[in-house]
Symmetry: C2
């Protein structure tokens, strides 16, 4: 048993069942930093699941306002400790302090927890439905079982397993969370978990409502998903990792919500290129290299028509890539992965148009790169050429007019987003409509005239898409209250008297909850 | 190639790819009746999926009112041909013409199609959500891919693969349906498919919007679910069959909605037994033997406290079973299945309290039977004693007071329903609340003071439950508009101009669609 930081299990920071230890790295220098953290063995999982199962039974009885109070208290604690959290996340990820971590991601994290609190308080996620003729009432309700959340490498705060959207969603639906943090940022996750645990104690939730493990051996991730005590799993990460966990969850009938992979195709229509090609080249370059390209909504495929405007766009974009300094990636694994993705493109016939794909300098540095292929070449090897190269790399497809652009769209697999750039003067409208029809079933979010990076926490967000960009086309992992409904069961009540109904289904509605009563949305009492 | 009835593929009744043929049976006489029907080979599946994929693309563009017109026209045709449909279903299932088929199931079938039409017309299933600050809009939308529907043996009309709730739901969301009828009632399914096809032609939907196969070899069911061209699968039937199809769908990331198995526990509290034990005995017996017990919501487990009132209830119930004439089951398979279910109970220590479990007389006859076990015995073998014996058979568990009733509830697996009978005078209230808390996460629909048979088509119905009573705890297979949302994708629009938005997300809202605009449900325009 090696010395390692404690894990948060069953309401306390406890000595872990240490099967191995690891440390974070400073990606800018490729040197280990910080404390030694445990890789947890099966005994930790068992203790966490047993405690979470008890907490799940207790949480079902906790009133919604107390869940909201916890989420708000945790949000306040994150804001109060912003500078420390940003420093920790910066050290472990090399993401810029400002604007990325301090001005965008941290406020987004606390804001998301507050939106979850508001949705808990308003019962908006429960869709209370009342049929007075039959005496039937239904709503979305807690699972009565814990949720397991796997955090990704690329948002140490806003998608952290113990602070992000899956966490906030699962808790808002009154389910305890067993968080499996991402091992690339353990100190950030530790500090967040400390704040979450303090908020649990301060608001008197069941102590095991929030638990966290830093890391588990590869076989134990699926073991966690396959455990029938688990109500649902939230996952953000790679396609390979996600599908392995999904298989395990599917075997046991555990609901699995994975947000996995996407190349986010962008179609630039001729009129738009004519109007503002140079501006679009900069907009594209900026989006593709933001956060060293380590976004699930990174524009990884850009489809342009041949011709003067298209050629000028490509030349301008290539020049931006040529002039770009190397960015720091999260880890040696991320670096190797983008390099092997690019190798796949090259084998499939793509050539470098701009940038260096150089990996010079200290740490995990990689220079942004733009590749290109013509439409016919793309259509000969669509699978290889739409494989994700996670990082600041993108592939331009040069097409012979709208016909070939449509053919490329038809060859696309599932994506989180699809984007059209359309002229203001109406000259692209017909082509845009045809492309939108082809893209629509292939993407979760259809965008016009701006880049896909930037995922607002909004009730109307769809951050999800068809399989396998996500695990189920009917859900989103971002946006309250919809994201909460992933962690819910549909409960029916059949002529159950008022006293034994949950508050949002009772006749009297003093809180003015929006309810679908006999087919009409109303905040009134049932008479 | 044998002679057989044609299948409905790609808009026409065509000669099937016949790998075998079969006939229906009159279950009351165990003799084959009617025409020879085909078991379809892989070529039929391929033709149907190819045609359905094209129809899916076309259906996305069809306005909602035309979908509604189809559903209404089909409902009218079912009503206009009610006598013929009822006769066909009666001949193939031996279910009583009246009241079951003519007065309940047939009107329920057409009513359900009309409710789906109304939900299509009102866009209620799409949950349109608009965030004016960010320019984001979202709604539930067609899958853009066909749905495959597997019908069960026990509702030849209301859950028929080509007429029932899954069919109506999938079509209302503008997805074509490939129906896999249940082979026990081919002539009923054929006549329904003829009426559906005529309605497709009359309302000018894409001709392959409705297709039907009568039967497929065992390996082709999973092959159909594993096909990536399929958007979603709806299944009603046995746990074994459902889980085999679910595994296949899961492999391919195809959404699977199965309504599988349930024993529907009923808890009779002491006060209720004291108030009306004799009436409850008759109510229970009637529910358990309705339709020869072949309901997914059949009360298969009854939990009663020992003591005078409980003993009197059991004696009265046993007397009803003793006096019951044998009923006709659907098939030799159903008969064998209920017998083997009862054998499992007996091996696990249950004994016969009433009825004969006799299988005398012509056809697949079986006499209703009541078994019993004490609470300690149930808790020694909870898995065997809560295995489903599909048919007119139920198991009474005699408990030592509320403590043991709670222990039995704790030992229950997932069910579609759970029922409490509670005294009117308030004397059971505390026990009822404790039992309800234990049952709540284990069942889809919590019922008070009436039997679980009878599943109203209501917006507040939950006909589903935790896994493995159903495949996903968040969905219902009955009740509009919720059941429609199973066959939908969540689509986001990000600053897409009005002209390229679907009607329910545009600024102007001339149809008065209920929409969630900036957090408030409204039928107003967006200004």
């Amino acid at each position: 048993m090696k010395a390692a930081q404690p894990v948060l299990i069953d309401g306390d920071w406890r000595a872990a069942d240490v099967v191995d230890t690891f440390r974070a790295e400073d990606p800018a220098r490729a040197v280990a930093i910080g404390a030694h953290y445990p890789v947890s063995g099966a005994r930790d999982l068992e203790r966490a699941l047993a405690a979470a199962s008890s907490a799940a039974e207790a949480l079902v009885q906790v009133p919604a306002w107390r869940i909201a109070a916890f989420l708000d208290a945790y949000a306040d604690a994150i804001d109060a400790n912003a500078a420390e959290l940003v420093d920790l996340a910066h050290a472990e990820t090399a993401l810029p302090v400002s604007p990325r971590l301090a001005d965008n991601e941290l406020p987004r994290t606390s804001n998301q927890l507050r939106q979850a609190a508001a949705a808990a308080r308003s019962y908006a996620w429960t869709l209370p439905t009342i049929d007075t003729k039959t005496g039937l009432r239904s709503h979305f309700a807690p699972l009565g079982k814990p949720a397991v959340v796997f955090g990704p490498n690329n948002f140490p705060l806003a998608f952290n397993a113990v602070a992000g959207s899956d966490f906030a969603s699962a808790i808002a639906a009154r389910n305890p969370v067993v968080a499996k943090a991402h091992p690339l940022h353990p100190a950030t996750s530790q500090r967040l978990a400390e704040l979450a645990h303090e908020a649990v104690l301060a608001t008197e939730l069941p102590a095991a409502s929030v638990q966290m493990l830093y890391h588990v051996p590869e076989a134990l991730g699926p073991a966690l998903c396959r455990d029938r005590r688990v109500g649902a799993v939230g996952f953000t990460g790679s396609r390979g990792g996600g599908l392995a966990l999904k298989r395990a969850a599917d075997e046991a009938g555990v609901a699995f919500y994975g947000e996995m992979s996407s190349i986010n195709p962008v179609f630039l229509l001729p009129g738009a290129l004519g109007e503002r090609g140079a501006a679009l080249a900069l907009e594209f370059f900026t989006s593709c290299t933001l956060g060293s390209g380590q976004f699930c909504t990174n524009p990884g495929l850009v489809v342009v028509p041949r011709g003067e405007a298209g050629d000028a766009f490509i030349a301008a974009a290539a020049a931006h890539f040529d002039g770009a300094a190397p960015g720091v990636l999260f880890s040696r694994g991320v670096l190797k992965n983008v390099q092997s993705g690019i190798a796949r493109w090259r084998e499939a016939g793509a050539t470098r148009l701009g940038g260096s794909e150089g990996a010079d300098g200290a740490g995990y540095r990689f220079a942004p790169v733009l590749f290109g292929v013509d439409g016919a070449g793309f259509l000969r090897a669509p699978a290889a050429l739409q494989s994700e190269a996670f990082g600041p790399a993108s592939l331009v497809v040069r097409c012979d007019g709208i016909g070939e652009m449509l053919a490329v769209a038809h060859a696309l697999e599932a994506n989180l987003t699809g984007t059209l750039y359309v002229a203001a003067d109406g000259s692209d409208d017909e082509a845009a409509s045809r492309l939108a029809n082809v893209l629509r079933p292939r993407v979760g979010r259809l965008i016009e005239n701006h880049m896909p990076t930037g995922v607002a926490v909004s009730p109307a967000m769809q951050h999800g898409g068809p399989y396998p960009s996500a695990s189920h086309a009917g859900f989103t992992s971002v946006g309250m209250p919809a994201a909460i409904r992933r962690f819910a069961a549909l409960h029916g009540y059949d002529r159950v008297p008022d006293a034994r109904l949950p508050p949002e289904l009772r006749d009297r509605n003093p809180g003015g909850i929006a309810r679908l009563v006999d087919g009409v949305w109303t905040t009134a009492d049932v008479l």
